[in-house]
Symmetry: C2
Subunit: 282 residues, 2 copies
């Protein structure tokens, strides 16, 4: 799964070469259902070890056009993991305090501690995307930021944080159908932001800004992945696969108890419950 969606390093990418409607060899949701459930179980097992070991961590960066399904993918893939070891951080317009710092400051604070998984719903990449499209970041500054991002991600990967970057790829016509859905479903209208309509006019500029990001910021240890996202079920399946594969690459293991703890096993009073009286559910 992984290899086909992982971007090569230092190569110019054309988004139009990638089909947002791709579903690989699958035709419908039912074909991946069983594997999806197995992968979720494996994610739980891997997360349990990650959390117990407190040595490695995982950062999953989600980017994509409005309506590409960042919220939905995070919800679908991560609901079910142990919430103790997982956090979502959503980055919207910076606050005054955030804007008064360098552009990596607010995201750095939310980086996962050892043992944790963090999902970034948007990220520091916005500072070379939306700000670039709207002329707040010029070419020179963008180039500096690409380097700063590279150094920031290197800092994380050097310190046992796996960095997985995911772009949810949709078509422009898919976006309009999602916007229409949001407007017509009273339980979804709250998600509708009139600004999305205005941003839509900058579609081609965003494509170019993303292509620049992919070209400059796909590093060996922190590559970008383009996930076809016109089909929700396939999007979730690929995202989950990428996350499980990222965790599989880590040498995760339950920590061995130290000698002191092992000795205690002998010293503990015996279980005093009478046979067969074990509390139910244990």
């Amino acid at each position: 799964m992984d290899a086909s969606y992982r971007l090569p390093r230092g190569k110019r990418i054309k988004l139009s070469d990638y089909d947002p409607g791709d579903t690989s060899s699958f035709k419908e949701k039912e074909e991946v259902q069983e594997q999806f459930e197995q992968l979720k179980e494996e994610l739980n097992e891997l997360q349990d070890k990650l959390f117990a070991q407190k040595k490695y961590s995982l950062l999953v960066v989600f980017q994509g056009m409005d309506c590409s399904g960042k919220d939905g993918a995070i919800k679908k893939v991560f609901s079910g993991v142990n919430p103790h070891g997982f956090r979502v951080s959503s980055f919207k317009k910076p606050s005054a305090e955030e804007a008064a710092h360098d552009f990596l400051w607010r995201t750095h604070r939310e980086a996962p501690a050892q043992g944790y998984i963090a999902a970034f719903n948007r990220s520091y990449y916005e500072e070379v995307l939306i700000t670039r499209v709207h002329g707040q970041t010029d070419e020179e500054e963008a180039k500096r930021r690409f380097k700063q991002i590279k150094h920031f991600e290197k800092l994380m990967t050097d310190n046992h944080t796996k960095v997985l970057k995911i772009f949810l790829h949709i078509s422009k016509s898919f976006q309009i159908s999602k916007l229409q859905q949001r407007l017509r479903d009273p339980e979804k209208t709250w998600k509708f932001d009139p600004n999305d309509i205005l941003e839509r006019n900058y579609w081609d500029d965003y494509v170019q800004a993303y292509e620049d990001v992919f070209s400059h910021c796909s590093f060996k240890e922190a590559p970008w992945h383009i996930v076809p996202s016109n089909h929700r079920w396939f999007r979730d399946f690929v995202v989950l696969s990428l996350i499980v594969e990222a965790l599989r690459e880590l040498p995760l293991a339950y920590p061995k108890p130290d000698a002191k703890v092992t000795e205690l096993i002998g010293l503990l009073p015996e279980d005093t419950r009478p046979e067969g009286a074990a509390p139910k559910g244990y």
Copy 2:
């Protein structure tokens, strides 16, 4: 469900009057399974509205002796909720920076924003429990803190945060059987803290400190609940019920779109996908 586990205000509580092995009228897990699943679904629906409305929030405080199942209850009850709107905060020994502030500072920072649910795994109550048992907080200071906690919780409830306080009630013999389990299961040994054995010697002091907390800090709008927790399945069932009931009491509703957004529905280009070509999974 709620009323029977909610503590009255200002009354002296004896923990020994509460049976940690209680399972109400139920004999085994299977009897509550269906209702548990229904409640989880309702929790998801209520959370979706809470998050959309961004007006109210919920703080669930979990306290209990070591091994009472705070981690387990939070995992069981909240795995499945939309992780965007939910955070667990675990409070262990304060850091140097935290200890240099008043005792409510570090927890206040983690209070839920409007629209969010926060679970506190231990809380500011530790500062009238563990510190009291070990003589770091004297009677005078404890009394002051009870009042400060009252004012802090009033601040939250005045500002649309529902405060639900849950004590997971286990027996001393149940605790030892859990400690034994942790020591003998290589996948659980990492949870074992030799300190738990030492703390066990203070069991009666903890009981008294908790009884004091219940007597001084059960307020009309932020009552304590004692949840029988010797049986994991019953514990989770009661905790989930309490959370759902707390959310039901809030006037949650999806926000109505403003006139500007309603107008946009007419202006949007029509869905241009040919009939029957709707993306799969939508």
